[in-house]
Symmetry: C2
Amino acid sequence: MERIEHRAAFGGWQDVYQHRSAVLGCEMKVAVYLPPQAATQTLPVLYWLSGLTCTEQNFITKAGAQRYAAEHGVILVAPDTSPRGDDVADAEGYDLGKGAGFYLNATEQPWAAHYRMYDYIVDELPALVEAHLPASGARSISGHSMGGHGALVIALKSPGRYRSVSAFSPIVAPTRVPWGQKAFTAYLGEDRSAWAAWDASELVATAEEKLPLLVDQGGGDEFLDTQLQPQWLQAACTAAGHPLQLRLQPGYDHSYYFISTFIGDHIAHHAKALHA
Amino acid sequence: MERIEHRAAFGGWQDVYQHRSAVLGCEMKVAVYLPPQAATQTLPVLYWLSGLTCTEQNFITKAGAQRYAAEHGVILVAPDTSPRGDDVADAEGYDLGKGAGFYLNATEQPWAAHYRMYDYIVDELPALVEAHLPASGARSISGHSMGGHGALVIALKSPGRYRSVSAFSPIVAPTRVPWGQKAFTAYLGEDRSAWAAWDASELVATAEEKLPLLVDQGGGDEFLDTQLQPQWLQAACTAAGHPLQLRLQPGYDHSYYFISTFIGDHIAHHAKALHA
């Protein structure tokens, strides 16, 4: 974990680390906000998963989350959205390959060698964070769009690992929308039976742990009807008796202006679970 | 004033307008945040002047100011930092030409035709804002780095026009530092007698109005000793009996992480004057 950025923010430090990922087989960057309390004690961690095209920079420069993390004494960890580097497979288009890892473990070529974001986010990254930073071991997870899909799927697949989960405008049913179908065909293959294990709306039916889901969705989101369609998650949660708080926010779009408006609510939600 | 962006944020709207500037002789973009209160009443305006290399986008995407503007019922207006377009003169390097207008009226060729940011900010833009938006006519001004220089100079040169002024890491004495000397030589000519009229540390000596100056400066700012040196403003204010609150913030650098940390204080400061 080599620190490559270090900037004072809200009494703490907005850092970026670079490290070798054994799981992904490449160098990765990860942004870490250490609130002021981290100078003297270990703190819980909120993992943030960003959306398509993003790097570790988008959330830390645009969401305004540091203020709330400092208020609540929570470390923020925002990783990159895919493996990186010249020997990592890529594709044309913003929605496949670099910047579009979809937080799963790919099984198909040429992706399987490096695209193992699920293992990276669930195992390797927390192990690094808890070994090298003042992190207590209590974890929550959130994200936006593709990262909202990632947060929901990861929490649902990893019972006991996260204290709370939330998402902004998540891809709730990737097996049923163009973004997800394109990515899953490439990463997981044509056989759709392998897809359900990476679809939040499918996973709630069999989730071992009924971790409540908090989801904010902008009513003016340009991707609402084509890629997001949160009603599928709502129907699946109703059928499974899985607790879901789905908040439709009229007028808000898919941008970081939406995230910045409600990230304070989400961090308060996670802090309550993390400090309980 | 054609609205080209319109995004919900903190109960209000983060908009961007495009308009023809007669003063600058080109099309300009300007960002406007309308807080929720603007739906039903006219409100005072805080003008924000950005620094070198910036456009109308940097402040609105990175400062997190909308939350405080919504809290205090203040409109934010963030213009671009220079004239733009193919027929506007430019230079190599980030610190002259486009993105580096220095908020003055150029007298030298090839700059004089378009580089009249002082007149644009002080007269043309407020007239447009007050004609087309729910703006009450009460104005304050702030900015960062080159824009901090702009805010201080504009307030000092325009008695009665602004209720309050503040700056983040401003170039307080452009006639004495490399950024300012390069720009002033190009825009104003070799004759240094014309320069003092655009230097805040010179202007305080003869300012008609003793508008208190609020300045935040990061102690870890990479430009502190070479380009900023706020002690020159402090000495000039002491000599002139001009009120100055200069806050050195240990550890903070020149970035928007610094601005985002303290913008809430600045907006509260301006709101108090604007709503008085």
